[in-house]
């Protein structure tokens, strides 16, 4: 089943398009990294996914339904600043979740907070930033939605809290099999946990697909300046010095050119290559496996 599907999705604020012509299909069960520079449209895409904003053009579907009203039970959201009511106790915050969500798993939430050593009687305002993040994420996980959307879940957390938040989230994913969409502008911290990538920049989706597949398809070619290696490939970005050219390419077949060295790339390098080359409109972004099969 498709967890998230966007067709011709666009969002305009005033006369500026925050997102334009977004087509996406994300299969169920993935842990999706939504990356891109600041102001690229990550938060807008997330807000559209959880029904906080309505699209200007096109449609968005979460598990086949638009994310409004009753369908909101299929998607949980943790906003970047992890908003909670500061005057509530932790127990009251869980009660809020129970009252407002038909499938809320109160026992699991209590167990999780107990493990983390967060007392139910504490007021939210008395908690540390890391604890608040944990409560907000626990609340969203306990909703038992099929898709959980987290906007920069690790921002403003110290390294230990980052580790604990990520660990807790992955444990919940293992228990429930839910699909996770999380954003960050630091790719390195998503590398280990995510298996799917969406790169947005300048309001459009530049790369989308399974991370393994993306890494597998891209290579760095280094060779003498003024020449081009023979073989089927698309250039994503290139840098040339006086003597040597460095090309980031998407491979369509093997390259056999003795003058050129072919190097494997880390995900971060591929993403950076695309970010640098975001105005190169002649470069088609790789499409996701699902849609490619149909085409």
């Amino acid at each position: 089943m498709t967890a998230l599907e966007a067709t011709g999705l666009g969002k305009r604020y005033g006369d500026k398009w925050a997102l334009k012509d977004v087509f996406l299909t994300v299969p169920e069960g993935r842990i999706i990294a939504l990356v891109g520079p600041n102001g690229a449209g990550k938060t807008t895409l997330m807000n559209l996914t959880v029904g906080l904003r309505r699209p200007t053009t096109g449609q968005i579907h979460v598990f086949g339904r638009p994310p409004y009203g009753e369908s909101l039970q299929h998607v949980a959201f943790v906003a970047q600043e992890k908003p909670l009511y500061p005057e509530f106790t932790v127990a009251e915050t869980l009660r809020l979740g129970e009252r407002l969500n038909p499938r809320f798993d109160q026992p699991a939430a209590r167990t999780r907070l107990d493990e983390l050593g967060i007392p139910l009687k504490s007021k939210i305002r008395a908690l540390s930033g890391g604890q608040r993040a944990q409560v907000a994420i626990t609340l969203a996980v306990a909703k038992r939605a099929e898709l959980i959307v987290l906007d920069e879940p690790l921002a403003n957390l110290d390294p230990l809290a980052r580790h604990e938040v990520m660990e807790g989230l992955m444990a919940a994913v293992a228990d429930t099999g839910m699909t996770v969409l999380l954003s960050s502008h630091v790719i390195a911290e998503l590398n280990d946990v995510c298996d799917h990538l969406i790169l947005v920049s300048g309001g459009r989706v530049q790369v989308a697909g399974d991370i393994e597949d993306i890494v597998h398809r891209h290579r760095l070619l280094v060779g003498p300046a003024g020449t081009a290696p023979a073989g089927p490939y698309d250039v994503v970005s290139e840098r040339t010095t006086e003597r040597q050219s460095t090309l980031l390419v998407r491979m369509r077949g093997p390259i056999h050119d003795p003058r050129w060295t072919v190097r494997d790339l880390a995900l971060e390098d591929v993403v950076l290559g695309y970010m640098r080359a975001r105005d190169s409109v002649h470069l088609p972004p790789p499409t996701i496996a699902g849609t490619e099969d149909v085409a």
Binding site: V50, L52, Y68, G69, E70, V75, A79, F88, L96, L100
Partner: protein
């Protein structure tokens, strides 16, 4: 969501109870010293200002200011089902506060004869009229709250909105009293009806801004 609305109004419930308690103290003093009679009745028209500013104006904007709309509106309920209990609890609280303060003001007058005049303090203290003002004040507060999304701005706007409406209403009721040969109760009912209709319009505007507009 009703639970959430009650929980979020807890502090405001205590505040309103305090106002009624203060009012009771004032009324008791007036009752004991008949020379002071009329103070609480004279102050009563300020009650709607308090209701608009403290019950209406924070209702939606406080969520925006704290970012908690992103929490409240992404649970498994529609925004309408979030908005209606919040507004109804605020209205109920306003009506209860009005009931308490108007009854106390009435009692403090201790059987002072009503002159049955449109300018008498008792005109706005009797019948459905005080409740209509309470409902209108909360509605104008919630409407400004949902439109401006800023509590301080909404508080100021609803204060002046209620005050201006009171001035206009006073002028209109005096004129109607002079020109129409209506009994005073009919005049009160007409005023209450107009206020309730305005409140309904403001309520719809607030609902529309909350449920249909994108968050900032």
């Amino acid at each position: 969501m009703t639970w959430l609305a009650f929980r979020q109004h807890r502090v405001r419930m205590v505040t309103m109870a305090l106002i009624v308690a203060l009012w009771a103290g004032l009324a008791a003093v007036e009752h004991g010293f008949p020379g002071l009679r009329g103070i609480s009745a004279g102050l009563f028209p300020y009650i709607p200002l308090v209701l608009g500013v403290f019950l209406g104006a924070p209702l939606v904007s406080r969520e925006f200011e704290r970012g908690t709309h992103q929490l409240a509106w992404t649970q498994s309920i529609t925004r309408s089902r979030w908005f209606l209990p919040q507004t109804l609890v605020a209205l109920a609280l306003a009506v209860l506060t009005t009931a308490g303060t108007s009854a106390l003001a009435w009692w403090s007058l201790g059987g002072l004869p009503w002159k049955r005049e449109v300018n008498d303090t008792l005109y706005v203290l009797t019948g459905a009229l005080p409740y209509a003002w309470a409902v209108f004040a909360v509605a104008i507060g919630v409407a400004w709250s949902a439109i401006t999304r800023r509590t301080t701005v909404a508080m100021g706007a609803s204060f002046f909105g209620v005050a201006a409406t009171q001035l206009i209403a006073e002028g209109l009721r005096n004129r109607a009293d002079r020109e129409l040969d209506w009994p005073l109760t009919a005049l009160q009912s007409a005023e209450a009806g107009v206020l309730t209709a305005l409140a309904a319009l403001l309520g719809v505007a607030a609902w529309w801004c909350t449920t249909r507009r994108d968050p900032a």
